[in-house]
């Protein structure tokens, strides 16, 4: 048996073992599919930088190997006729698409409780959520089943679950990675991101999936990312700490963990300055107008005619309504209705127009901070550690507020990385994030890597 086949069997066994614990992080998984890919790889003679690396792929990213359901009944069993550029590039580098990971339906949620196929359990406490919407990707990496997984971010959906599960989550700049083959939710916000066990693991994957793509006109005309992770210290770096990300009601463990990391930054030679991003409080309301508005248009394509679920009716309009009404889950229906409302005649300026203004100001805050000599921003990723399952599921606004520190980066299109910085007294992971100017991922990841080398993510924060 070749090393590739043995590695593939071991990866399949790890995923199967994780799923047997009730994690529910994978929607599609088949040991034979993994083995077949390894067999094909073993016949290749070209250079394979990822030779046999098993990766999880969020189930809103199109693959040939498995269905692409977006964790929705409306796309249950759907097979894409093409694969995403990010997936094609990973496979070209020798990666194996090990499984499709569970998620909030169409990426809409912060807990992976809004999956048509059941919620993802937190790998350390099954009574808690893994975060979302890329909760399956984060949980699978945290459980040790795969080293890396693709996720997607529209409003923090890689960093928030990464923080909850104690792994690394990278959201690249808008345009860094092709969106071709990523099922659209909010097109001005969506980006494929990476969950990794370490900064280096996530960086390797991001380097390989990034770069120009003629199939996506929103993908920047840039070479693939080159991020060598070669810094030993942070001398000469100026890190801004935005006051608005440390409100009075911030969890004690998260505040203390961030304080401890700020001390690490200083010890490693960085200059740390308090900065203000005054429009931060507008980020969540702005996001929850723009994202549903774009979703209401993007999800119009799911109508029971060209693919997916069909609920037969005597009249075409009834067919659309019944198929969509029964095929979409509760949160997706809510967001489509909110999105349609804010775009409808009489409400457009009051909601969508104002949200665009807010977005410009949020983006302007980051521009001003970076123009003032700040190289990177440091902040908590989430206001709390992983919350209990069911805690927010009937209260959409409370759920939305768990995105309070992550969605501004998506609105501004800048890159960010969340990394684990310790554990709360309950043993739950605490995450913090760095944010950088657009297309400064090399500095962002190099700095995160240095912090990671000087942080024990398992140490209790006191």
């Amino acid at each position: 048996m070749t090393d590739l086949l043995r590695g593939a069997d071991e990866a399949a066994a790890r995923i199967a073992a994780s799923e047997e614990t009730g994690l529910n992080a994978a929607i599609s998984f088949d040991a034979e599919v993994i083995r077949r890919q390894a067999q094909e790889l073993s016949e290749r003679t070209d250079d394979l930088p990822l030779a046999g690396l098993a990766v999880g792929v969020k189930d809103n990213i199109c693959t040939h190997e498995y269905p692409t359901t977006c964790a929705s009944r409306i796309l249950e069993h759907y097979r894409s006729p093409y694969e995403a550029t990010a997936v094609r590039r990973l496979k070209a580098a020798g990666a194996i698409v090990a499984c499709k990971t569970n998620m909030d339906e169409f990426g809409m949620g912060s807990s992976t409780e809004h999956s048509a196929f059941g919620r993802v359990r937190h790998p350390l406490d099954p009574g808690r959520v893994a975060g979302g919407s890329s909760g399956g990707s984060a949980a699978l990496v945290a459980a040790g089943a795969v080293r890396s997984a693709l996720g997607s971010e529209t409003g923090g959906s890689v960093r928030q679950p990464a923080a909850f599960c104690g792994v690394v989550g990278v959201k690249p700049s808008y345009g860094r990675v092709s969106r071709y083959g990523l099922v659209a939710f909010g097109s001005s916000l969506d980006q494929i991101g990476v969950v990794g066990r370490t900064v280096a693991d996530a960086t390797t994957v991001l380097e390989l999936i990034s770069g120009r793509d003629p199939h996506d006109s929103t993908c920047a005309d840039r070479d693939p990312l080159h991020a060598p992770l070669e810094r030993q210290d942070l001398g000469g770096l100026v890190v801004g700490v935005p006051a608005e990300y440390f409100p009075d009601n911030l969890s004690v463990a998260i505040r203390s963990g961030c304080d401890r990391t700020v001390e690490t930054l200083r010890r490693l030679g960085a200059t740390v300055r308090e900065v203000s991003l005054p429009h931060t409080p507008l980020a969540v309301p702005c996001y929850y107008v723009i994202a549903p508005a774009e979703a209401s248009a993007n999800l119009a394509r799911f109508d029971g005619v060209r693919y997916g679920l069909r609920i037969p009716q005597a009249d075409l309009h009834a067919l659309y309504r019944e198929t969509r009404g029964r095929g979409f889950g509760e949160e997706v229906r809510r967001r489509i209705i909110v999105g349609t409302y804010v775009l409808s005649s009489g409400y457009y300026e009051a909601y969508y127009g104002k949200a665009q203004l807010a977005r410009r100001r949020i983006s302007g805050d980051f521009d001003q901070a970076f123009a003032s000599g700040i190289d990177l921003l440091f902040a908590p990723t989430t206001p709390t550690t992983a919350f209990k399952a069911g805690e927010h599921v009937r209260n959409p606004v409370a759920m939305y507020l768990s995105d309070v520190f992550v969605c501004a980066a998506n609105l501004a299109g800048i890159p960010a990385v969340s990394l684990p910085i310790g554990r709360s007294s309950e043993g739950l992971p605490v995450g913090a994030q760095l944010m950088a100017p657009a297309f400064e991922e090399a500095l962002l990841l190099d700095t995160a890597h240095v912090i990671e080398q000087h942080t024990d993510p398992l140490e209790e924060i006191r």
Binding site: Y78, R79, S80, P81, Y82, Y174, G175, S188, R212, P214, S217, T218, A220, D221, L282, P285, C286, Y288, V305, R306, Y307, G308, L309, R310, P312, A314, D315, L316, H317, A318, L319, R321, E322, R324, G325, E330, R333, R334, I337, V338, G339, T340, Y341, V342, Y351, Y352, G353, K354, Q356, L357, A358, R359, R360, R361, S363, P396, V397, Y400, L411, G413
Partner: protein, 100 residues
Amino acid sequence: MRVPREEVERIARLAALAVNESSLAELTTQIGEILEYVAQLEGIETDEPSGPVHLGPERAPLRPDTRDPTPLTLTPREMAPEFDEDFYVVPKVEGVGDEE
């Protein structure tokens, strides 16, 4: 913010979404709460023109004008819920063609 139930029904019709009668009351309450929350944006004072924020490339990159179809592993026939010859099969639109 109180949103009338009829308004939620109207918007759902615009969005081509059937809403279950039994879930309408809770949905109406939740939509009202979400709209009340995002209404804090109304407080933004400005003389600036509104308009979408543009994050992508300054202009769409051009590619050679050559025919280069993406190979599809499935045809529309295989993907569609109902397909006949070269057409997607759908029920008629109510009221159209009834008089003929």
